[in-house]
């Protein structure tokens, strides 16, 4: 007798990056972030569209769900909030009074919201924030057993968790609790350097190589007591995040000799030095925790999740240190991934579903993280035809050839093929592609397409089989979560006086050609690598392989398909709008190819540069 499949829905919401994920019999079926549908970056609202997308992908009715799991425990969070308010005193009251009613209306009424959305009474379970992260790191990983490290801002109480996973499930060994938080320490510097918390951390990491870690000692002496086993405590008198929205206080500002940088003002050498310093301290902390975890668990494999696990520079260092033999990081390491973890917790812990076998030895169970919605050729054609947009229909082979050919002649291509990525990185399903050999690619893509800060580097997508030609990277990096050094052989010498006359002039440094792949070589000769194989993403692999045929270089520039502040495009209409609003030359949507020169005048009724709040 066949048993009914056990479908478990995981949901994360109400903080930032709401998402839903669906696991069937222990295998992820779908996962999506709400922001992609609502077009509001980091949308924290109850993820009605993402839930819909998950059920749509599985083609199931809501009543077929065995249960739904919320990624954290709202009562524990409330406990932390109330205690924090009590501890912080009167100063904290106004901001909490403002935020608390909304919080209570949503988190505590999760079941009601879900019932309203699905029109069904289904069993509702609650996980814990870091347990969800741990599950999202372990269950989809390739390993039968692994040590688990989760680090982020804060969950209910935990901010850092050291755990272990194997056939018997997940066991949390140690945790560090709020307010001591490595994630919030990094966010404090993010805000101090003029970037937005919960989205600007990535920029701070990108800025770090332009600076020197001259403040690292000061951070260790005054802000964090970091111990050999990786445990730590923050000097809370320098921070304001317990009392409200601001991360830092006057004591912090005094320590670094000045107020925070104004947002969108010119980035100074000091900001780069601060970035380099907090990056160094973060890496040190992560390495200490990893060493301790290895010793404590004896595991050879490490898996990671939580927002700090998106720090691919630290991840790269961790890999090269060789503390663990193998490393796997959940690509949706932030709160969105908590939805996936929650679904796994429900599936394996509550419903006792056995873990599925990995698709092949060494391969993970994340399906390349291509877990979001896709659009059929018919849907694309109907959109293009309705608006009489000129296009060419191309076969899969022609698509690869035409895309590669456009890239090889220096054109920038918007590429939208297949299911969208789950997680913050574009992995070739919703990507803007460029020629990595061109010195102009970085500035053109940053300033005329992405409309973002010019210092920000671009990442390479490289054929897995060609990765060793360009990067010192021993393992696969399918999720763009590892930074690796560019090979010595392709590096170029840089004029030693570049930017010397004005140390705040980052542009001068950016414009230095550092390798034969200048568009993806960061200022410190590193690159945030995505290796591409022909299994999870054959269409993208074919594009890069064709590019290799044409140029001898099996590598392209890959940036997320959006403009600054915009969530990654999801639908053909999103892609077309972004294509027409920017200097992209070619748009590929499934088996349709559009050239900018052939498109009719685009009448943009929206003031789009104000449509997206700058991140």
């Amino acid at each position: 007798m066949s048993q009914r499949p056990v479908y478990v829905l995981g949901i994360s919401a109400f903080y930032h990056d709401s998402a839903a994920a669906l696991v069937c019999d222990g295998q992820v079926v779908a996962a999506a972030q709400e922001e992609r549908f609502t077009r509001k970056k980091h949308d924290p609202r109850f993820p009605v569209h993402a839930i819909n997308a998950c059920l749509e992908a599985a083609e199931i009715e809501a009543e077929e769900l065995a249960g739904a799991v919320f990624y954290e425990n709202p009562l524990l969070s409330l406990d932390r909030i109330l205690r924090s308010v009590a501890g912080a005193g009167e100063a904290a009251l106004p901001s909490w009074l403002e935020g608390l009613p909304g919080w209570l209306r949503t988190k505590l009424f999760f079941e009601e919201l879900l019932r309203e959305e699905l029109g069904q009474e289904i069993p509702v379970l609650y996980s814990e924030h870091h347990l969800s992260h741990a599950a999202s790191a372990f269950y989809p990983s390739p390993y039968d057993e692994a040590a688990i490290l989760t680090i982020d801002g804060v969950g209910e109480w935990a901010t850092t968790t050291l755990a272990e996973g194997d056939a018997d499930g997940l066991r949390v060994h140690q945790e560090i609790r709020f307010p001591h938080s490595l994630g919030l320490l990094y966010s404090a510097f993010t805000q101090y350097c003029g970037f937005r918390v919960n989205s600007g951390e990535y920029k701070l990491m990108g800025l770090a190589p332009y600076g020197e870690p001259i403040y690292a000692e000061r951070i260790r002496d005054h802000l964090i007591d970091l111990r050999e086993d990786g445990s730590y405590e923050l000097a809370m008198d320098h921070f304001a995040f317990v009392a409200g929205e601001t991360m830092t206080n006057d004591l912090f500002h005094g320590l670094f000799e000045g107020p925070p940088r104004e947002r969108e003002s010119r980035i100074r050498k000091k900001d780069a030095d601060l970035a380099a310093s907090i990056q160094a301290v973060t890496e040190e902390a992560v390495l200490c925790m990893a060493r301790h975890l290895r010793k404590h668990t004896g595991c050879r494999n490490l898996v990671m999740a939580g927002g700090v696990a998106l720090n691919c520079v630290a991840n790269g260092k961790l890999l090269r240190e060789g503390i663990f033999e193998k490393l796997w990081i959940q690509p949706a390491a932030g709160d969105a991934g908590g939805a996936l973890g929650a679904a796994y917790v429900g599936s394996h812990v509550y419903f006792d579903v056995p873990r599925v076998d990995a698709p092949a030895p060494g391969r993970d169970r994340q399906r390349g993280s291509y877990l979001g919605p896709a659009y059929s050729n018919e849907e694309v054609r109907s959109f293009l035809d309705l608006h009489d947009l000129p296009y060419e229909v191309v076969s899969d082979d022609e698509r690869a050839r035409e895309t590669a050919s456009a890239l090889a002649t220096g054109q920038v291509v918007g590429y939208m093929v297949g299911r969208t990525e789950f997680g913050p990185r574009s992995l070739g399903a919703r990507s803007i592609l460029g020629d990595p050999r061109s010195t102009e690619t970085q500035s053109v893509m940053n300033l005329k397409i992405k409309f973002r800060e010019s210092f920000r580097p671009f990442a390479p997508s490289v054929l897995l089989e060609a990765s060793g030609e360009f990067f010192d990277l021993e393992i696969e990096s399918p999720y763009m979560l590892l930074v690796a050094p560019v090979k010595e052989e392709i590096r170029l010498p840089v004029a030693s006086d570049a930017g010397a006359e004005d140390e705040d002039n980052l542009i001068a440094q950016v414009n230095q050609k550092r390798s034969s792949l200048p568009a993806i070589t960061h200022v410190d000769y590193s690159a945030r690598v995505q290796t591409v194989d022909g299994v999870d993403k054959p269409d993208y692999h074919a594009v890069i392989r064709e590019f290799q045929e044409l140029t001898g270089v099996g590598c392209v520039v890959n940036s997320s398909f959006n403009v600054r502040g915009e969530p990654m495009v999801l639908s053909p209409w999103d892609a077309y709008k972004c294509f027409m609003r920017t200097d992209m030359d070619v748009l590929v949507v499934e088996n349709f190819l559009l050239r900018k020169t052939e498109q009719p005048k685009f009448e943009d009724h929206e003031n789009w540069q104000e449509e997206y709040e700058l991140d």
């Binding site: 549908f37 009715e61 699905l118 029109g119 309705l386």
Partner: protein, 345 residues
């Protein structure tokens, strides 16, 4: 924005995106939409030959038939199919359509298909849609309501004259539309969406909650009839609908069941349906179709069951409503199909 369910079609005005797989959020909890390559919400491909050993019913109508609010397998067409193991139902339901577009769907997509019977299910409200030249629809790109052309017929010298072929794609500006004197559901939509109407509906809903059945009772006492087009056989709405249906029934290559679908208010007995019954019965009589009146079977259900015939806000039938419709239709369908086999033999 959700997925776009429809695409432009030069004959019908629009159809479902062929091959679409989608889930639509809805007050009932959401529903799954699965379409065939012909662009209709049907699990079967519309192949010319009927499957070996099976009888085939071609089903036409609007969103009631297409099943807005419920997944494919819970619609009355699919439930009819589930009741008879050797029956294939091809669903050509087109949401928002008039009888004109439903007839064009038959001509364009179904006329050449092998079939044992046609089941025409015009929703009684469709009588007004046949007079519209444009319809207010939701934009695929920004979700705004926009006016788009639809195909429509006029009666000229007693014959039907088809217009808007091919159906223009462009969106019509409201000002341009009003100047040209086109007919559409614009005023109807605007009236429905007006603050006063919204408030009125809210009050009505409140009354239904506090004093269930009072409004219906009041209507029954007053003998309210609606739509009024059915009260006079010479009304423009009915004349147009009758002309289209007569032509359709004449052209059909198989027996036709004519089963107008009532609104919930008709089902509950809150609105008088005598005019509707009379018009469709007369039409069936003169055209050779078989009139199927689903109201007696539906009204035989207890009122507390009938209250769940439709969704709380959305007028469309719930799963239960579709189940009741299938039960009400099943006898007539069962009767006509063996006869069809004999005819075919």
């Amino acid at each position: 924005m959700g997925r776009n369910l429809f695409e432009h079609h030069p004959i019908l005005g629009y159809r479902f995106v062929p091959g679409l797989r989608a889930r639509v959020r809805h007050e009932g909890g959401g529903y799954l939409v699965r379409c065939n390559q012909a662009g209709f919400r049907c699990d079967h491909e519309a192949k010319r030959e009927r499957p070996s050993g099976q009888r085939r019913l071609l089903l036409f109508g609007d969103s009631f038939t297409a099943g807005e609010g419920v997944s494919n397998r819970f619609r009355f067409g699919d439930l009819l199919e589930a009741r008879a193991p050797d029956l294939q139902v091809l669903n050509f339901g087109l949401p928002g359509s008039g009888t004109d577009q439903q007839y064009l769907a038959y001509r364009e997509f179904a006329r050449k298909l092998e079939a044992d019977a046609l089941l025409l299910c015009p929703m009684v409200e469709n009588v007004r849609r046949n007079l519209d030249t444009h319809r207010l629809t939701q934009s695929a790109t920004n979700g705004q309501l926009v006016l788009r052309a639809k195909p429509y017929f006029t009666l000229e010298d007693g014959g039907l004259q088809l217009h808007h072929q091919p159906v223009p794609k462009n969106v019509v500006a409201k000002s341009e539309f009003e100047e040209a004197g086109h007919v559409s559901n614009l005023r109807q939509v605007e009236t429905v969406a007006s603050p006063l109407r919204t408030r009125w509906r809210a009050l009505g809903a409140e009354l239904d909650t506090r004093l269930p059945g009072v409004r219906g009772f009041s209507r029954r006492l007053r003998g309210v009839r609606w739509p009024m087009d059915y009260e006079d056989p010479r009304s423009p709405g009915w004349k147009m609908m009758a002309a289209i249906l007569e032509r359709w029934i004449t052209e059909a290559q198989a027996p036709v069941l004519l089963a107008p679908l009532p609104t919930t208010d008709h089902v509950m007995g809150d609105l008088v349906a005598e005019g509707i019954h009379a018009r469709f019965a007369e039409l069936a009589e003169r055209s050779g179709a078989q009139f199927v009146d689903v109201l007696p079977a539906l009204r035989s259900e207890p009122r507390n069951v009938l209250r769940r015939f439709r969704f709380a806000k959305d007028d469309h039938p719930t799963r239960l409503g579709h189940g009741l419709l299938a039960a009400a239709l099943s006898e007539a369908v069962a009767e006509v199909l063996p006869r069809a086999k004999r005819v075919a033999a």
